[in-house]
Symmetry: C2
Subunit: 314 residues, 2 copies
Amino acid sequence: MNSTFPQLLSQWAKEVEAALQHYFKPAAAPPLLYDAMAYSLFAGGKRIRPILAMLGAEICGQPRQNALPAACALECIHVYSLIHDDLPAMDNASLRRGKPANHKVFGEAIGILAGDGLLTYAFELLAEHYPQNCSALVLELAKAAGPEGMVGGQTLDMIAPQKTFLTSAFASLNFQSPPSNPPQQLLERIHRLKTGALLKTSIKLGALVAQAPKEQLDAIEQYGHHLGLAFQIVDDILDTIGANTGKTATDLDNQKLTYPALFGLETSKNLAQQAYQKAIHALEIFPNSPAKNHLENLAKFVVEQYHTKNNPST
Amino acid sequence: MNSTFPQLLSQWAKEVEAALQHYFKPAAAPPLLYDAMAYSLFAGGKRIRPILAMLGAEICGQPRQNALPAACALECIHVYSLIHDDLPAMDNASLRRGKPANHKVFGEAIGILAGDGLLTYAFELLAEHYPQNCSALVLELAKAAGPEGMVGGQTLDMIAPQKTFLTSAFASLNFQSPPSNPPQQLLERIHRLKTGALLKTSIKLGALVAQAPKEQLDAIEQYGHHLGLAFQIVDDILDTIGANTGKTATDLDNQKLTYPALFGLETSKNLAQQAYQKAIHALEIFPNSPAKNHLENLAKFVVEQYHTKNNPST
């Protein structure tokens, strides 16, 4: 792997940070609400979704700066989902990225409202900055974030802890009878909706900003799908081996369905590797370019995280 | 008042009901989430916001049916706000429209997610059905519903109960020193943001669907502003005289700032009457039409509710 790639990631994250400072301007919001939204929005993070949007625009031939408002909208959606997921009624997490969770600082009511505010503001950003292709962008983001996407995935995640998934989760999937390999099917559906949908949409928003032709959009969608899968498997692995820092309520504590719990660690690593290969393969239709190279490195970076985190010397 | 107006309202509400059945179709959502969203979306209600959108399109020269998807989006936003407002961390209400509140039936986690899902779906509806003027519609709705609108108003409402508003609320308004008439200023700001913003936007979305010229949009906005104010004052009055049924956690229980608490009942009724007059006045630029007549009757109906509800024989 290109040794400068982590440096590139951190440089792009700084561009995202500056864009958030520039575009996140609900100036007339009550100061307390503004503070609560900003507390979580500017709490750091890898900014993977915004970076995907930027690279998605770039691989389709546009300057990545054109995707910055969409990138900020994606981060608003991602951060709102973290705030709501951490609430006592949901995952009941008291830490996020090593800092007290939003509701621990501002209280549950303001935490709920800060999430609602960020979610709504994301669509304001798209409508304001992309009047020409507003419809395609809003439709893509709303579908990925809404009841058939991320919110749906979080619902399944809440009702499908390992101990009860055979009853409630099957009912929620409307299965007439249990399928042959139900846990894997359910697990993949949860991940696809909860994490995968927004990751896939992140790079797709960049391609939509660039008004990419259908063939490119399809390839981008494939890349995003497999990257999202790899991302989630690796996140499960990191939770399992205890390498995910800054979280208090891990999926293990909450007895959630995870890849290592279902397949064991080694098979999970192989599944992540397969997803990585498919992501790379999807990019083959694009001519060589720095953006293509970056997206290949990004996928590699995602699947190799457990090596790095498991072995602090690397 | 035209004796058939309440019948007209109930006929339009049925049109909204049918439109919701037609347009609210997150078919791939987990059934439990779908049920939770539908439970509140189809729990009745006067459907005032959707009706305003329909009449807004009609007074600007378009068939009101063209505004139905926008009308459904408005109702999704309104219903999401009710679900989140009723949560234990917020108003802690166990009844809504005479039925158990959403979180009482589905639990807090699913209640939060059902609200998130409806909020997101509203933007999907606008993007899908109005590709031509998506940007104007999404921008209008997001601003009215977001941190500078409804979510901001709910924040002020949460942090400004009567007993503490002189401290926390002033701070939240960023006042350097208390203004001359702070409670009225704060009360009006809360209502303008919490209820007024979405009511005003409701009729404005109809006018935007009709691609109305600026002069008409401005008049519609004035009407919506004063109607929203009248609506909120009357709602406060109904809470005070105990005529609001189907609510358990009233604003009085939660010691919230209300018009009657601040001005007394008679002055509040006069303020509602003044707002009504200003709403009617704003419509003067429109030529006579059934839609204009309906909007006048709607404003009259809103301010006369306390007569009706206070005296069951009328």
